[in-house]
């Protein structure tokens, strides 16, 4: 591309395309400083693309501020045809959607949060209703779905629950055992471990694992069904999507969650026993007797009812984000992430409430 300035006319020779425009822009900007340019001779231009036309549009805007002459001179027919097609000078300007102000944003998010809460509570009510109905009539559920869901949500989580509970029991015994030994109170390690695991850690850890594993699975399964129109297909087959998809999960998790918590308690106490017996010189009989005796029926009732609440929260939140999905594959990912984060938050919040109520 060659650019020449003679008196007030700029002559462009060669090809004006996305390769040559950046250099041409620099050269012309330098020439602007040297003298006045009021027209551009395009007679020697052999080729132009949309980048070239966009650049000429920019030049036209700049020169038309002071030049009263026809700006582009001697334009070859084929170049004129390209300018006619690619020029944006006549295009209407489309405004970017305006951004909301601070108070609008706050108001909008509050209103959205309120609407979401209403939707979530409505969904929760529907889930409870259809789960209640589903106990007596299984006509909207596929045969074997309860067992399948129980295996998926429960037994497949066993290894990770076992491993984490063992490690936590191990760490708890190790850390507290060292402190108790200083006071000659080694034997209380059994009480401490048992109370901590039964009342707090086992249900909480199990719920967090289930929220991460099963909560995400529930949200992504329902969200995928929503974006691929499977939910609509169920409705068209006169099946209730909540009764068909959510209720088996709800029933299954209600059964398996207390079992997982029970399993977590046993494994974590075994992990603690390993330290207590091996390193703190406590007799096995003494350890297990103290660990069992310290637990009351009330503790177990609170723990298991707490774990059931956690399970329900996980299913409801997972289902809510699944049904609310927008967009395609990206929406499924967002729904899954939101479900896991919200479930873990809600589980910890519920745990705090339970702790206050049943101290």
């Amino acid at each position: 591309m060659q650019i020449e300035l003679t008196s007030d006319a700029l002559t462009l020779t060669g090809e004006l395309n996305h390769h040559t425009v950046p250099d041409a822009a620099k050269e012309i900007s330098r020439l602007f400083k040297e003298g006045t340019i009021s027209k551009i001779d395009l007679g020697e231009l052999t080729m132009i693309d949309s980048a070239g036309v966009a650049f000429l549009d920019e030049m036209h805007l700049k020169l038309s501020e002071y030049s009263k002459e026809q700006i582009f001179q001697k334009v070859p027919a084929k170049i004129q045809a390209m300018i006619d097609t690619y020029s944006t000078l006549e295009l209407p300007l489309v405004e970017k959607p305006p951004k909301m102000g601070f108070f609008e944003q706050v108001g909008d998010s509050l209103l959205n949060s309120y609407n979401e809460l209403v939707k979530a509570l409505t969904l929760a009510a529907e889930i409870f209703y259809y789960s209640g109905v589903g106990l007596f009539s299984r006509k909207d559920q596929r045969r074997g779905s309860l067992l399948q869901q129980a295996a998926q949500l429960g037994s497949e989580a066993l290894p990770i629950v076992a491993l984490l509970s063992l490690i936590i029991g191990f760490i708890l015994a190790l850390q507290s055992g060292v402190q108790l030994k200083n006071f000659g109170a080694n034997v209380f390690i059994a009480d401490l471990l048992s109370i901590t695991m039964v009342r707090e850690m086992a249900p909480l850890i199990t719920a967090i694992i289930v929220a991460g594993r099963s909560g995400s699975a529930i949200a992504s399964e329902i969200a995928t069904m929503e974006v691929t129109e499977e939910i609509d297909a169920l409705k068209m087959m006169a099946l209730n999507p909540i009764a068909y998809v959510v209720v088996p999960k709800f029933h299954a998790i209600t059964i398996v969650m207390p079992l997982l918590v029970m399993f977590s308690i046993i494994v974590s106490i075994l992990g603690g026993a390993f330290i207590a017996i091996g390193m703190l010189d406590i007799a096995p009989h003494t350890f297990f007797t103290r660990a069992i005796d310290i637990i009351t029926i009330k503790d177990l009732i609170v723990t298991f009812s707490k774990s059931i609440w956690f399970a329900w929260v996980i299913v409801i939140i997972g289902s809510y984000y699944g049904f609310q999905v927008k967009g395609g594959a990206e929406g499924v990912g967002k729904a899954t992430t939101a479900a896991v984060v919200s479930s873990i938050f809600a589980v910890i919040l519920f745990d705090a409430v339970f702790s206050l109520l049943y101290l």
């Binding site: 980048a51 650049f55 390209m82 020029s87 395609g328």
Partner: protein, 248 residues
């Protein structure tokens, strides 16, 4: 008359999925400023041929030359330079969902050119205007209908003014009016911008409107390569059946 050099030369191409042969013995010369339509029934290997031509799948044998250079043997950088001169309209549109249409079209311009923001802005706006989506430029792909997505994807494929354009089923799933307007646009790309275009389709109306040449595939074999009129007089039963059944 001066003989035109082919833009794309395919010689003895064989395409396989694992050990299964999908296409065999494909030989094609696609000339500049021609619209070549790859057609055939479902499962005949149309999209496989397109993707093997573009190295999205690696052909099991044969050569594919773009502008005289074998793209199968060239290194990544050289191939990227070739890709900058080609546009591709995918069957689903394949727009990036997390960004607006404007940003989708801006990507190749930002990444591959040194153009100023103002020039890029004008290029993006004109491309969206050409496909009739000026008013949707700040919308996200998830907010668009199927036809709008296809048109937006075409605008993205045209972003760099490529001399070579590939389209995979551009009219599939579109209503006849949208489909016809997309065909008009493809024809004007050929006429005005001298583009060479390769299209996969089995929409008969579309084939009649735009095809200069057709490649007819049947069960992985190229039964015919030539003009539409030649195809109709070639007396090949599969082709006759294809056009006969699709008549309306």
């Amino acid at each position: 008359m001066k003989e035109l050099k082919p833009v794309i030369e395919i010689r003895n191409m064989v395409a396989k999925y694992g050990t299964k042969t999908i296409l065999s013995d494909i030989n094609v010369d696609i000339l500049p400023q021609e619209i070549t339509v790859i057609l055939g029934g479902s499962g005949s290997g149309k999209t496989t041929l397109l993707k093997n031509m573009l190295r999205l799948y690696e052909p099991a044998a044969g050569s594919v030359k773009f502008w005289g250079e074998d793209i199968l043997t060239m290194d990544e950088n050289a191939f990227n330079e070739v890709l900058k001169k080609t546009g591709m309209l995918f069957q689903s549109g394949a727009l990036l969902n997390s960004i607006s249409l404007y940003e989708n079209i801006s990507i190749p311009l930002e990444m591959h050119t040194q153009l100023s923001a103002k020039v890029r802005d004008r290029m993006i706006r004109v491309k969206l205007s050409l496909v009739g989506l000026s008013n949707a430029m700040y919308q996200f792909p998830s907010e668009l209908s199927g036809g709008m997505k296809k048109r937006a994807a075409l605008a993205r494929a045209m972003a760099m003014d490529p001399p070579l354009l590939f389209c995979d089923e551009p009219s599939a799933g579109l209503d006849p009016i949208t489909s016809a307007s997309l065909d008009e646009l493809i024809l004007s790309l050929k006429e005005q911008f001298k583009m060479t275009i390769v299209i996969v389709t089995h929409e008969l109306a579309s084939i009649h409107r735009i095809a200069d040449k057709i490649i007819f595939l049947d069960s992985g074999t190229m039964l015919f390569y030539g003009t539409l009129d030649e195809a109709k007089t070639a007396k090949i039963p599969q082709i006759d059946h294809f056009f006969e059944v699709g008549k309306f």
